[in-house]
Amino acid sequence: MATVTLTPKKVPSLRLEADNITPDVFAGKSAAEIAGLHVFTGNTQELLGDYFTVAGSAGATAAETSIVIDGDASRVKYIGMKMSAGDILVKGNADMYVGAWMLGGKITVKGSIDAFAGTGMTGGEIIVDGDAGNYLGAAYRGDWRGMQGGLIRVGGNAGSDIGTFMRGGEIIIGGNTDVHVGTHQEGGRIVVKGDCKSKVGGQMVEGEIIVFGDIEVMMPGFQYRNDVDLEVDGSEATFALYEGDVGERHPKRKGDVVFGKLYLKY
């Protein structure tokens, strides 16, 4: 695995749109070629090399390419957007759209990330040690396909609108979330180790939400069914199972109506 190291050398005056920072674009390129890739500040096209010192060189394919951002990228958008393989390590924070629409590979962020990470992603992993912003693993505006596959793991807290229109894959939040978890969810699984505020599973059709802490206000469309023992992410516990959102449309399978499942730990 060949590693390309990007060391930040200049803070962007506005925000940097760096959708070229992916193993797919870097693959087969030398350090000089990578430094010559374009980035955008608003309407102005600049070079990646204006903002980062590039060391090392990329592998022949995306899968053989590893990118390390050795510093803070909290003003850099679109890191790892649409990547299909390889891996990216960000040693500081990252801005919006980390791993948006990603297909495969792995992104690790040691700090925190802003909104729209994992938008519409279909595969791969996003691991965040710090906090995540709003719209994690959600759908783009007007799209009915949020996260469809892969894994997002956040060590800290997450913002609002986690997994909106989610259809597959798994999101695990170590801390608490703001409002709206799994709104319009049609599949996949969201695990929250901490507390949720309210509007959890609103308009949910299918899929699972598992909450270890409290939910401040439950949605009126969820009805208690029974208690179940589950092993979730390595820990076993007893959960109360609620099904809903009964106000929303639901498909039938083998004669039974399929509901979204909300597990709340006792």
Partner: protein
């Protein structure tokens, strides 16, 4: 002697009343009186006659002293800050005509600007919800003639759209609504007691920020499923009763305002409200309509919709249209230091944006194009007064139900004053020269 101008369109709120009459002096230079308008609409016409009105552009120095400049100097400054900026924000567009909006969009295309309108702090969330789940809507004419169930959710037309209730929603007698108010049941959902809620058959005094739960509860109630004892502070008995009232009508309409679009849940509230409307169409005929505020905010969404495909928060910086509220919306851009010049036309962010955003405007090259002195003109470096659209110049505007109405010119603007469109055309010409486009 005075002459009477009839069928005047009121350029104040999204109701866009088209039955005003204005008496003007024979030379057509002064408005004497305004008939049929609400207090706010009449004031808009009469305010154009103020003796202390600003009639020439003026610039502010660092100490806050104003100096009159010519329109040519104003065009030069505006064109230069837009052409020099890497990411200029062109905000407002709601209190002007569609013709000006179209010219403004051309400037945005040449300079690679972010175009945003007042929907960003108003009904933008509605537009997001429409993109998510669609919208079953109608025109206000259908409401007059057919509606026998009216829901006002998070809005207070008695004060914000004063003639809405008499022209369209509560009082008028229409083709199938011959008994006027007596043929209609009115539901008001608002945490506060308002002059609108006093007229209601049902006033659901909901807990603040729990609209999403109540919308969901209605959907559960329509299906006859069981509810918790109270939802959002409303007993379940009342929810079932109001749900039955809604289902039993022949034609119903939900009007909603900023009480739901800008409180907790935002676009999800509207998403749920549209879902409620869709569910009600299993039992009766129902529509839903946003109570748009500025008289032509709908028009700016229409113009950008047909030019670039998105109704607000339009990012043209990379030469093609992008859109993502939360990223390309004015307050997010200002808060995150993502813009380096601010242009405001036909809106007052100084009064309506969070103070943090207004401070950011103050720190940037900025221009405010507005007939009035506003909090925005006070924080911008350049203030360009222009003629009042709908009073001193005509043009197209869109009503809250997306019906285009041609505004009328009633009087002449003060000598030598430019209209929005004339000023923007000059800026466009200069910007093209500077950009070599």
């Amino acid at each position: 002697m005075a002459k009477l101008v009839t069928d005047v369109v009121c350029p104040f709120c999204g109701t866009l009343c088209d039955d005003l009459e204005v008496s003007v002096t024979d030379d057509g230079k002064k408005i004497l009186d305004v008939y049929n308008a609400c207090a706010i609409g009449a004031e808009k016409f009469l305010h154009s006659q103020a003796s202390d009105r600003i009639t020439r552009p003026r610039m502010q120095d660092e100490d806050g002293n104003w100096k009159d400049v010519s329109y040519d100097e104003a065009v030069e400054y505006t064109a230069k800050i837009l052409a020099d900026a890497k990411k200029p924000l062109m905000y407002g567009w709601s209190s002007t005509n569609c013709e000006s909006q179209a010219v403004g969009t051309q400037i945005g295309e040449v300079t690679g600007a972010i175009m945003d309108n007042t929907a960003t702090v108003c009904h933008g969330t509605t537009l997001i919800a429409v993109q998510d789940v669609g919208i079953p809507s109608c025109t206000l004419g259908e409401v007059v003639n057919r509606a026998d169930r009216i829901v006002f959710w998070g809005c207070n037309p008695a004060h914000a759209h004063p003639r809405h209730m008499s022209r369209y929603s509560i009082y008028p007698r229409g083709f199938f609504t011959g008994k006027g108010q007596k043929s209609r049941k009115l539901v008001v959902i608002d945490p506060r007691c308002t002059d609108t809620s006093k007229l209601a058959d049902y006033h659901l005094q909901i807990e603040q920020g729990r609209d999403y739960e109540l919308f969901d509860a209605f959907r559960v109630a329509f299906k006859g499923e069981k509810l918790p004892d109270t939802v959002a502070g409303i007993p379940k008995k009342t929810i079932y009763e109001v749900a039955e009232t809604m289902k039993s009508g022949r034609f119903g309409i939900i009007f909603f305002g900023m009480g739901v679009t800008q409180s907790l849940s935002k676009n999800h509230n509207i998403d749920a409200a549209i879902s409620v409307t869709r569910d009600l169409n299993d039992y009766s005929k129902w529509s839903i309509m946003p109570m748009r505020g500025h008289y032509n905010v709908t028009g700016s969404g229409e113009v950008w919709g047909w030019l670039h495909g998105f109704p607000f928060a339009l990012d043209l910086s990379r030469g093609f249209a992008r859109y993502n509220p939360g990223d390309t919306t004015s307050n997010d851009l200002l808060r995150r230091d993502e813009v380096d010049a601010v242009f405001v036309l036909g809106s007052d962010p100084g009064a309506h944006f969070p103070f943090g955003s207004v401070k950011k405007i103050w720190g940037l090259p900025s221009v405010c194009i507005d007939p009035h002195i506003t909090p925005t003109s006070a924080v911008c470096k350049l203030h360009v007064p222009v003629a009042f659209v709908g009073v001193e110049t005509g043009g197209c505007a869109y009503r809250m139900d997306n019906v285009p109405i041609e505004c009328r010119k009633v009087v002449e603007p003060p000598e030598g004053m430019l209209t929005d469109e004339e000023f923007l055309k000059k800026v466009l010409t200069r910007v093209k020269e500077l950009k070599g486009a």
